[in-house]
């Protein structure tokens, strides 16, 4: 199970990722938002625009776009775990229905649409297959003045774009390991033993998340 990789190359990869992971400044996000508006008429990526329309206007056309984008991908991911296509489709259906029903919980400053749906898919797959409720963390109570912060959303989108570019530069064996780990095909012991997982990539991404969260918590009432 152990795949060995050249350590020096890994270090180089980490350095490169580290450089790309420099925390996006708020000003960068605002600038990018203005550029996006010029191109698409909206400040955000299209999946975010659709999701916000579903959340705020219960827009079924936008929901249809989300379905067209995510349903075939969810089916691909779920079929990987060896489920027959019909059962996989039942779970996809369940996930997309949850997306519609829980849209009010979507916070684009804290999660990308794809990350939010990934998390729902993992929950639903466990709930349906193991017939038990997966334990989930407490929801953060939103701040009183919960308004979407455009520059934060765009900064998060930029982080994700950089992360995806980094993923695409991984060697095929490394990429395969990342997929197996994040799509639920490895146990925690296997993940721990796996030297090929570029965990540094992920760690360098955490900073933005932390900063955002601290920012968020200032206006949050929690006991």
């Amino acid at each position: 199970m152990k795949v060995m990789f050249d350590v020096s190359e890994d270090v180089l990869l980490e350095d490169r990722l580290e450089a790309e992971a420099a925390p996006a400044r708020v000003g960068d996000g605002a600038k990018r938002a203005r550029e996006n508006i010029l191109v698409t008429g909206e400040p955000y990526a299209e999946t975010t625009v659709w999701m916000l329309a579903v959340r705020d206007q219960r827009d079924k056309v936008a929901f249809g776009h989300l379905f067209d984008h995510f349903a075939p991908r969810l089916k691909g991911v779920i079929c990987r775990s060896g489920l027959p296509p019909a059962q996989a489709e039942d779970i996809v259906q369940d996930v997309m229905l949850t997306v519609w029903r829980k849209a009010h919980m979507f916070d684009p400053g804290r999660a990308q649409v794809s990350a939010w749906i990934y998390q729902i898919a993992r929950n639903r797959q466990i709930d349906v297959l193991r017939k038990e409720r997966r334990p989930v963390p407490e929801e953060l109570k939103p701040a009183e003045t919960a308004e979407d912060d455009a520059s934060q959303i765009v900064a998060l989108e930029e982080e994700t774009t950089a992360l995806r570019a980094a993923l695409n530069r991984l060697k095929p064996a490394q990429r395969e390991m990342v997929e197996r780990a994040y799509l639920g095909e490895l146990t925690h012991a296997e993940i721990r033993a796996e030297t090929g997982l570029p965990l540094g990539t992920i760690k360098s991404r955490i900073r933005l998340g932390l900063e955002k969260l601290r920012h968020e918590l200032k206006g949050t009432d929690r006991t």
Partner: protein, 211 residues
């Protein structure tokens, strides 16, 4: 929550995010994340990566009538799901495991108490109540044990664990945790194998108490 110094290792966070972590350990991870903003952010980062993989995955065409069936279901009201809330020292995932009720403690002797929250083939998760100053019998592990402090503190060979701290003990660790003087130490503990006690009497009691 501030002052947490012992966090969830990456392999457990990834296994939790990906859904491969057994339920007993998932309960502990979800509870720690409820108490620890840093691990909440780290979990968010792992889910971002999971989302990027989902977005990049090869598409597999869905049946032609699926979208219509889904749209038919959109206006059907969902069955209401019970939402559990934090109560006192117990974060929401613990309250959910307790079914919303206060713990029903079972005495284990010498003032130590426990309540088993969930027990299946993949492991067990329980609440432990250890009076201040009391030692938990010296034990080792056949598998993995996660112990999360909800109240008070304990110390063992590897360090001090206060509220929110998570101890990860694997098969190599033989330890004797001692609760600090003061209020009782209450922990959420999950194992995937029975504990091995070194002295004879606790070993005899093991099948009875399912420690």
């Amino acid at each position: 929550m501030t002052g947490i110094t012992h966090h969830i290792p990456d392999e457990l966070l990834i296994a939790y995010a990906s859904g491969s972590l057994p339920k007993a350990f998932s309960t502990v991870v979800a509870t720690h994340v409820s108490m620890c903003d840093e691990c909440r952010a780290r979990l968010g980062a792992h889910e971002t990566l999971g989302g990027a993989l989902l977005d990049d995955t090869p598409v597999q065409e869905v049946s032609s009538d699926m979208k219509a069936r889904l749209f038919d279901a959109l206006d059907t009201p969902a069955a209401t799901e019970r939402v559990y809330e934090r109560s006192g020292i117990f974060p929401a995932p613990v309250m959910e495991a307790l079914g919303g009720l206060p713990p029903k403690w079972k005495p284990l002797g010498l003032g130590v108490r426990q309540m088993i929250l969930n027990h299946d083939r993949s492991g067990s998760v329980r609440l432990l109540y250890i009076p201040g100053g009391m030692a938990v019998p010296d034990h080792g592990h056949n598998g993995l044990e996660l112990t999360l402090v909800l109240q008070g503190a304990f110390s063992d060979e590897t360090g001090r664990f206060g509220v929110g701290d998570l101890e990860v003990a694997d098969g190599d660790l033989e330890h004797e945790p001692v609760a600090e003087d003061g209020p009782a130490c209450i922990c959420l503990a999950a194992t995937d194998a029975a504990l091995r006690f070194r002295s004879f009497v606790p070993r005899m009691l093991q099948p009875i108490f399912r420690i």
